[in-house]
Symmetry: C2
Subunit: 355 residues, 2 copies
DNA sequence: TTTGGTAATGTTATGCGTAACATCACTATA
DNA sequence: TATAGTGATGTTACGCATAACATTACCAAA
């Protein structure tokens, strides 16, 4: 056999303590069923040899690995970081180990990961699907009877628990806010059309406009990629419009888009909110702690993670399998400076600039 | 046996394709050694049944799990988030899966994690030790012949590769900068005395002061916990000093401390940098992108992760085991607003306020 | 003293895939 | 034609821990 790191096995402990492997196993798993003095001896041997039971062998036998996975598009996005933190927390408390993976919004990477994870016989999965087309993958999971929970992005027709935010509502809130401040030419930088949250946020934006009797203007609707560079390029596109067609406010549909947007505005020497109002979906907590600036709808990211983990644990532990549950967590609307509300309040809500 | 999710095994595939299990195994691992038409038939069966080889069994046999772990104090700290990103990237490209864990700066949690990871027979570990006392744990790893790499915090006398930043140098740079701007009463909020980086940053701070003929003042040296609340409380402690004893500048030895500090200053209605200059170790990239404000020494966090992973892979792949390597990555000094340099420049470097 | 019961411990088989060895069919060589 | 060689495939044993069953020792009840 091609083994190299000759680890200490239960047999070694058994030999050392002068008992059978089974007795050692009992000491570990059902101590009460071993005579006190034998148990003491075995425990001594375990300590001396530094024996750690091989979870691979246990898992092979029991069909449970106590390992889960969290697959997100980008762990360095603070939203997902917080989700991860929540997930890890609950997992750790329940004796589960979590494998993390980045899909980079690529269906292919996602597929590879799931394949690898199935091989490792994870007990379940938490996933932020990269797009509609993840449907096939989720079927694969279902086929292998692996419970999974959708986080942030749910997909119609998929039989699984999901924890999402109210993207439509949040987008409507932000857009309404801008409308209330008098803006009429409001742009949106939205994520890839294949991503449910991007679609919903755009929908909320359009709904709010229409409710105010404004027809959405295609030139003000720009697609990004949920990353900084996408927000930056989208912003440049908006700034390249002839002055009279330019927006007076922009709604960035995620945090990275907002950052790219702000960077582009700064380069163009435009002031926020004086020259351009900005609102954003998702708070950047640390940035806001340092400098409360962006007006946002903030999502309870960590809670996304903890609730999703709870759901998953219930599926794993419970013998029953209730129908799929869907939790929609409402975002918190936080008015800060970037929308210009404080200026508007100071100079009157309906001054010329906004009319 | 207590198995529930009856997964498809190699035997099932073998039966389906009318060959032995061994042949299926060959199709997967050494396709060239199987006749083309047999191979085609087996591949067909694999696809039809959705067979995914059980990595647990493979690992049990080969003694390699192709699983690594990254143990940090807090994955929601953007520094570690970036490290994680770098680690995951390299791991993914090399066919490794990464388990992430938070130790919360607790030696006990760290111990528990390592125990669990050893049980899972991870091939190696990347770790940001929570303190000196992690020594025993690292011995445990060594005893189990698991290679590990220390990230961000190295410990004297431990035989392992490490990737760290130049904490002393970075701290010296920041402190010198404040001194050059004319500050004489400079405070430091440093991390737990058990953490190497905290010690080094304090050392660099004190060295810089002494080099300018200033004796470190104990009342200006406050210990935090590397978290926001620690920075906040430390700041309050500094602000509670009688006016003439108060610092005119504060050096926060990590990003979270800086945030807590700024929050406390804002609550006290003190302006930064006019009323209090602030510099900080570690950049908060997203915050700075949004609003370039904090003067910092920024560390190439992601590179920490990629280099550490490279080291680990070399230990895993290579038959040779070179002596421990230590990489010290220099931080980048970025002057922005919080130190007041732009004001000093405008009103002259040695005006009354700073003298 | 015999018998049934229980506590303590051991033996065997199993999970799943593969290394090592074995077998079989067929071809090239002498 | 006999033999060695090669390719294709099968059989057995093993990694490690444990469920299920077996055995042993000992005690209480009859």
């Amino acid at each position: 056999m091609a083994r190299e790191p000759t680890a200490v096995t239960i047999q070694d402990v058994a030999a050392h303590a002068g008992v059978s492997a089974m007795t050692v196993s009992r000491v570990i798993n059902q101590p009460a069923r071993v005579a006190a003095r034998t148990r003491a001896r075995v425990e001594q041997s375990i300590r001396e040899l530094g024996f750690v039971p091989n979870a691979l062998a246990q898992s092979l036998l029991r069909g449970r690995t106590h390992t889960l996975a969290l697959l997100v598009s980008d762990i360095s996005n603070p939203f997902f970081t917080q989700v991860a933190r929540g997930v890890e927390d609950v997992a750790q408390r329940n004796g589960y180990t979590v494998i993390f993976g980045n899909s980079d919004e690529s269906v292919e990477k996602e597929r590879q990961y799931i394949q690898a994870l199935l091989g490792r016989r994870i007990d379940g999965l938490l996933i932020t699907t990269s797009s509609h087309s993840s449907h096939a993958m989720l079927d694969l999971l279902a086929r292998h009877e692996k419970p999974f929970v959708l986080i942030d992005r749910s997909i119609d027709g998929v039989q699984a628990d999901s924890v999402v935010g109210d993207s439509i509502g949040g987008a409507r809130t932000l857009t309404n806010h801008l409308l209330t401040l008098g803006h009429r030419r409001i742009a949106i930088i939205h994520g890839p059309a294949a991503v449910p949250t991007a679609i919903d946020r755009r929908r909320g934006y359009e709904e709010a406009l229409r409710a105010h009797g404004i027809a959405p203007d295609p030139t003000l609707i720009v697609e990004g990629n949920f990353k900084r560079d996408g927000g930056y390029r989208a912003a440049q596109q908006l700034l390249a419009l002839p002055p009279e067609q330019r927006p007076t406010a922009v709604f960035a549909d995620n945090n990275f888009h907002a950052i790219g947007l702000i960077e582009a505005l700064r380069e163009a020497q435009l002031r926020v909110p004086e020259d351009m109002a900005v609102v954003c979906f998702d708070d950047i907590e640390l940035a806001s702690a340092l400098h409360p600036f962006l007006t946002v709808v903030a999502q309870p990211a960590r809670t996304f993670g903890t609730i999703a983990m709870q759901f998953l644990l219930e599926r794993l532990d419970g013998t029953e399998s209730p129908p799929p549950r869907k939790v929609v967590l409402p975002p918190e609307f936080i008015v800060r400076e970037s929308c210009g509300a404080h200026l508007a309040a100071r100079i009157g809500a309906t001054n010329g600039r906004y009319s």
